[in-house]
């Protein structure tokens, strides 16, 4: 048995996460293999030591400065001047009518297609096809950003598609991370990561796709930005080639009220 499988079995056994046949296998190993027993003891004792670490106390200065920052007026919670109740009522009624009239038109999200290019993610369909290689030179990853845009991210499914060729090397995989900044503060409010998608070992490009369900946690219509990171796990010196063909290299987001910033 290779060492990596042994480690995974022992680790899973420690957590009670193995199936019946794996449990039988690991119990046999623990009876018969001194290496397995030594590893088991190490994992168990380091786990017990970690679990016994006490909680920490937040430094007083940090507590004070953070609390002060929480009290600062924020653009997320704008301060409003008090209004009399009838003005508020009329305003609310007008807003309701406007909402009912426009809701179907404005709020229903629709899938908006962006295209992956080597220079970034663009809203306009590009003309040409590009090829990039994910290798040790770029840390086996391609990171692409959209320009800022204004939209409301609605409930739905975000999808990323691309095509890739790992050559004739076996057991190569790729993974996608999708980042969304939903308020223009240049920090990502949502990070989604796909499972590793295995590539076949035949020469030639295959088209791949992953999807991420979005639950529409954010109500704001605001400044947004998306980032897509394609990364690969490869043992090949040549890396993995990615074909940025406009029909096969897209990120599709469920957006309402999209405007280019």
């Amino acid at each position: 048995m290779d060492r990596e499988r042994l480690q995974e079995l022992l680790s899973g056994h420690l957590d009670g996460e193995l199936n019946e046949s794996e449990t039988v296998e690991v119990e046999t190993l623990l009876r018969e293999s001194p290496e397995a027993r030594a590893l088991w003891d190490s994992y168990r004792s380091q786990g017990q030591a970690l679990a016994a670490l006490p909680g920490l106390v937040a430094p007083g200065e940090l507590l004070r400065t953070t609390k002060a920052r929480l009290k600062e007026p924020s653009p997320v919670h704008p301060q409003r001047a008090p209004r009399s109740s009838w003005v508020w009522l009329l305003g609310s009624l007008a807003a309701c009518f406007a909402f009912l009239f426009l809701a179907d038109l404005m709020e229903a999200g629709r899938d908006r297609v962006f295209y992956l290019t080597s220079a970034g993610i663009v809203a306009e369909r590009p003309d040409g096809v590009e090829m990039v290689t994910l290798s040790s030179e770029n840390d086996h990853r391609l990171v692409l950003l959209t320009p800022p845009f204004r939209a409301k991210v609605t409930s739905g499914t975000a999808r990323v598609t691309w095509s890739a060729d790992a050559g004739a090397v076996e057991r190569q995989a790729m993974r996608v991370r999708l980042y969304l900044d939903l308020d223009g503060d240049e920090e990502y409010d949502l990070v989604e990561e796909s499972m590793a998608v295995e590539l076949d070992d035949r020469e030639g490009f295959e088209t791949l796709a992953v999807s991420f369900p979005l639950e529409g946690l954010w109500d704001d219509h605001g400044d947004c930005r998306a980032k897509v990171e394609l990364s690969c796990e490869t043992s090949s010196d040549q890396g993995i080639e990615v074909n940025l063909h406009p029909d096969r290299s897209q990120v599709i987001l469920p957006l309402a009220r999209f405007e280019e910033a």
């Binding site: 995974e8 680790s11 996460e17 006490p54 430094p59 940090l62 990070v191």
Partner: protein, 177 residues
């Protein structure tokens, strides 16, 4: 602290802050390589929690805060270069919440050294491995809960956790000489 689904106010959040600050700091520190990173993470996570608090739908408050801390930690470290580590014992502001008065001075010193060794080993792990170890061994989450928190498949939890345990074992082995 149980919070029911209702109109949540800034006063409710003050209470959450007062009651959960140590927990959030502890989690932030264990997830971070340096004290300064931990403080930034703590602050950013609470600012985010404050912002999203009106949308909190009830349920496990700690689970909700944990998810905010972890996702903030993930987004902070995307593409970030490795930073030099401040040795754990050089931070004066750090202290543990449960001093053990029953132990003698030698035992206390040994205990403290053991904890520092563990913290230092955690700091030497990669971000992903540290996150897996913290969520499983310190937070006690099961695979489903880790998968949900990190938004990754359960099968990935199993393989990543195994690699993380092995990485930690090696670091501790090296430290023991």
């Amino acid at each position: 602290m149980a919070i029911q689904s209702k109109q949540l106010t800034d006063q409710d959040f003050d209470k959450v802050y007062d009651e959960q600050a140590d927990y959030v700091y502890s989690l932030s520190r264990r997830l971070s390589k340096t004290n300064s990173d931990a403080e930034d993470l703590f602050q950013e996570a609470f600012l985010k929690a404050f912002r999203f608090f009106p949308k909190f739908r009830g349920g496990s408050l700690r689970g909700w805060l944990r998810k905010i801390v972890v996702t903030t930690n993930i987004s902070r470290h995307r593409g970030k270069d490795k930073q030099p580590t401040v040795p754990f014992d050089q931070y004066e502001g750090w202290k543990e919440s449960i001093p053990d008065d029953s132990a003698g001075p030698e035992q206390l010193a040994e205990e403290r050294e053991r904890r520092q060794q563990l913290q230092s080993a955690l700091e030497q792990l990669g971000e992903d491995a540290r996150r897996m170890i913290v969520l499983r061994e310190l937070e006690g989450l099961d695979y489903n809960e880790i998968a949900e928190t990190l938004e990754i498949p359960k099968g990935t939890v199993r393989s990543r956790l195994s690699r993380a345990r092995e990485a930690l074992r090696r670091v501790l082995e090296q430290a023991d000489g």
